[in-house]
Amino acid sequence: MHPPLGEPILEFHDVTVAYGRRPVLWNVDLTIDEPGLFGIIGPNGAGKSTLLKAALGLIPLAGGTITFFGRPFAEVRGRIGYVPQRETVDWDFPVSVSDVVLMGTYGRLGWFRRPGRRERDLAGESLARVGLADVAGRQIGKLSGGQQQRVFLARALAQQADVYVLDEPMAGVDARSQELIFGVLSELRDAGRLVVVVHHDLRTAAQWFDRVALIDMRLVAVGLTATVLTPENLERTYAGRLDLLDELGRAVEERGRTS
């Protein structure tokens, strides 16, 4: 589970990403060398999701390198679980909840082999962990937004990974599902996994994450949540945003209450 000594779990080295000719991330240097809940925080359009997608090889890098356990993603992808944003798929697609969770086992199965008893058991366990065992046979469009997000989390659990990467898992999710998802992520942390979460809500970020990185097209600050979420850092990250004062006030207030 633990990386070999000296190799960080996840390392971004001088990463620059561009859409066409327009750079969206500049020279990001970020090293995560211990397990835990890690939040990537920043305003809309700051490049948080872009950073994740670049790490998973879904977007080409304009410069720099990204490594997991000291190796390129392609060599270790079996050890990384992925939860994409919920809106990226068509929920009217004719598959059941358990069909989707089974997709988490496909990477290990490889070409042409069909899921068997082992995979079905694993999918069932994963669904139970996110509290959806009783809707396994239902078409995915018949679930609530929060339940759909939990299906995606269960699919990532079925990947049996060492690192989990989640893109906005709390967006448009009801309070009960948020709690359930956070509970599962905490379990993963306690089992020694690294969980990297792109997140936009400052209030909950202060409560949930062990460490955070503040991002606004470049890395603003990184470290323990309590030391990073300072008014100065937040101002530097959210400078010029209209909702700044409100968000800032709540975040600082929450931090004061939890620490």
Partner: protein, 298 residues
């Protein structure tokens, strides 16, 4: 068991008609099955661009060989269909043309070229050239037994390949970024699916013609989706709808000479779709209407 009434007029016509009916039924089945992934991947119109472009290849293959040999003509149609898809990809990548506009341009230009070639051949009175117009709207009565066997074999191969790739195709069609992140070559799998659609569009040419063959890979899947929430059931049902549509077209055009098959096939498919749209449980109009009423009563 007694034979269904509809088969008897066919039997009365000839053995060849029966073989042709089987071949066309196989095409209908395969087109319905393969078409599901075009629809699920939201690329329903890609097949249409390829279909309209097949006419160019059919005409050029005829000009090159001077014979109206179905396999040769279909290979020509397949090649020009692929060329059109290639142009479509280039147009989207190298210009700022939107998806739908690019499809419309490729479709109309290649079809215009195809029509020009075919009518040029007909006007010049090149021997055998008159029959090329049958590829416009479909004309199964002209098929030979050997043609039908070939079409059935191609259809069987296409379905077999899709069944082998079913797990991968479903994954890519549902969530391509998850597929890519977990190591699947999404572009390659997509490419296979597009090729399969192109193959079925070409195999469907004799039955439905270049103008209407898209209907065979789009209408049955959409109708099938109404009845089920599972991909395998959808594939099977769509295949069955394709068979029924194709056979209706063959049967009617066999009884009424000189009637093109394509429009009949499409009308049959449209009828199945209309019924599915209204009466399907859960997703159908009637079921949803009743749900709304029940909801209001509460």
């Amino acid at each position: 068991m007694t034979a269904p009434i509809g088969i008897e007029p066919l039997l009365a016509i000839s053995h060849n008609t029966l073989v042709v009916a089987c071949g066309v039924a196989a095409v209908g089945f395969a087109a319905g099955v393969i078409g599901c992934f075009g629809v699920l991947r939201k690329r329903a119109l890609v097949g249409d661009a390829a279909a309209h472009a097949t006419l160019v290849g059919v005409a050029l293959a005829f000009l090159a060989t001077g014979r109206r040999d179905l396999p040769v003509l279909l290979v020509g149609g397949f090649i020009s269909g692929l060329v059109a898809l290639g142009v479509l990809v280039l147009l989207k990548r190298c210009s700022r043309t939107r998806d739908d506009a690019a499809t419309a341009i490729v479709l109309s230009v290649s079809f215009g070229l195809g029509i020009t070639l075919v009518s040029g051949i007909t006007a010049r009175g090149i021997p055998g050239g008159a029959g090329l117009e049958q590829f416009l709207l479909g004309h199964t009565a002209a098929l030979t037994t050997a043609d039908a066997v070939l079409l059935a074999a191609v259809s069987a191969a296409a379905v077999l390949l899709l069944v082998v790739l079913l797990k991968e195709a479903t994954l890519v069609a549902f969530d391509s970024s998850f597929a890519a992140a977990t190591g699947w070559p999404v572009a390659l799998i997509d490419y296979c699916l597009v090729m399969l659609v192109a193959v079925m569009v070409v195999a469907g040419l004799p039955a439905a013609g270049a103008v209407l063959v898209t209907a065979l890979v789009v209408i049955p899947p959409v109708a099938a989706r109404q009845w089920t929430d599972r991909v395998p059931t959808m594939l099977l049902l769509s295949g069955v709808f394709g068979v029924v549509s194709a056979l209706c077209g063959v049967a009617v055009s066999a009884v009424v000479p000189r009637l093109a098959t394509g429009p009949l096939v499409v009308l049959a498919a449209a009828f199945i779709f209309a019924v599915s749209f209204v009466v399907a449980p859960d997703r159908g109009w009637w079921a949803r209407h009743r749900q709304r009423l029940a909801h209001q009563k509460q």
